[in-house]
């Protein structure tokens, strides 16, 4: 799937995560989290799993995490990418 436009998913409420997917020449992932020191690597891993599953090879994924669990992070990243790829 190609990221052809900017799209967002999720919220900044507790236990949720706000994700922005936008076009970019290379693949970039940026993470901000209330639990960054403890879980930054796990969060990045979850993001990359979704990115790979959806076959995304380029684009910028920016994540602002408010303490979301893994299945929520993955859901929001998937939604943002699909929206950015023209799905709704």
């Amino acid at each position: 799937m190609n990221i052809t436009k900017s799209a967002v998913a999720g919220t900044l409420e507790s236990s949720d995560v706000y994700v922005k997917a936008e076009p970019c020449d290379k693949l970039e992932v940026e993470v901000e989290s209330v639990v960054y020191n403890q879980f930054a690597e796990e969060i990045k891993k979850s993001i990359m799993e979704v990115v790979e599953d959806l076959g995304v090879t380029s684009g910028k994924i920016t994540v602002n995490d408010k303490g979301a669990i893994d299945c929520v992070i993955k859901a929001r990243v998937e939604t943002a990418i699909k929206r950015a790829g023209g799905d709704k």
């Binding site: 949720d16 979301a68 669990i69 993955k74 859901a75 998937e78 699909k82």
Partner: protein, 293 residues
């Protein structure tokens, strides 16, 4: 055992995560009214992931999908059925064909997933005047229908009357739903009591629903779950009486008696059936009860 059904908005992670610790026998993960049109895709994916990852131990899972006259309901089922929820709640069901439409699509998905036929049950939400009038046909429309649920809010809008705490305006709908469901041998659930702060009102409303024959009641607030469970559970006196009935029947059988009485009242088939239902509830609530048979 399903006494209480708690609605949880499908796009709210902190509620979804805690769905199984709020005391409800069933949780209804809502993809319909609790989700704005712009967030339907997001909620669908979130609920699917929650079902994939979270345990929801001891809690029945019901998914309220979007109505069959929208573009969403098939997408909802595409994502949700592979996760094998216990039940699907199609809203605004007005006729038997609405049930068949949803059931046929679920059947295709069940086959694709390799599930046994009719694995996923249906609990149609009846909330239109037409739906109430067709309640019997809806209840018997398909083998997949295991229960029906009355939605009082949309119904009163359709009836063009005011929704009140007393519920006089939905009395006909309630009794018609109970009669239709029982005629088809399925469970029937009452509309939520929507004043979250009024716990006494909730008890009054739930007791009235139980008296009419409802199997349980839905709730839009975790605060109402305990009261609903209490009202729709058998009392200790009812449990004791049920065991007495079954013991009396057992002794009568041993003695070859055809007709027996307890406390001066003849024990006939409906009393035995009621006693068995109470004991089943007791087993579901506490487990490990000795078999009376």
């Amino acid at each position: 055992m399903r006494r209480s059904m708690l609605f949880i908005p499908g796009n709210t992670p902190n509620l979804l995560m805690n769905g199984d610790v709020l005391g409800a026998d069933s949780i209804i993960l809502d993809l319909e009214d609790a989700v704005s049109p712009a967030e339907k895709d997001s909620a669908r994916i979130l609920v699917r992931n929650a079902l994939k990852s979270l345990n929801y131990k001891g809690c029945e899972i019901i998914i309220r999908i979007n109505p069959v006259d929208t573009d969403y309901w098939m997408h909802d089922l595409d994502e949700i059925i592979p996760l094998k929820p216990n039940m699907i709640m199609p809203p605004k069901v007005s006729c038997a064909q609405d049930v068949k439409t949803v059931s046929d699509y679920i059947a295709k998905l069940e086959e694709k997933c390799g599930f046994e036929k009719n694995t996923v049950k249906l609990i149609p939400l009846i909330e239109t005047a037409m739906g109430i009038e067709n309640a019997f046909q809806i209840a018997g429309a398909d083998e997949r229908v295991a229960a029906m649920f009355l939605g009082g809010e949309d119904l009163t809008a359709d009836l063009r009357c005011k929704r009140t705490k007393e519920g006089t305006e939905i009395f006909y709908a309630r009794t018609r739903m109970v009669c239709a469901a029982r005629a088809c041998g399925i469970d029937v659930y009452d509309t939520p009591f929507t004043d979250v702060e009024d716990i006494e009102g909730l008890y009054t409303d739930a007791r009235f629903a139980k008296a009419l024959g409802f199997s349980g009641k839905a709730s839009i607030s975790p605060r109402h779950v305990e009261g609903i469970n209490e009202v729709f559970s058998p009392t200790q006196a009812e449990i004791d009486y049920a065991h007495e009935v079954m013991e009396t029947i057992r002794i009568a059988k041993e003695q070859g008696k055809g007709v027996v009485s307890l406390r001066g009242k003849m024990i006939d088939a409906p009393i035995v059936a009621r006693a068995q239902q109470v004991i089943e509830m007791e087993r579901a609530m506490f487990g490990g009860v000795e078999d009376d048979d």
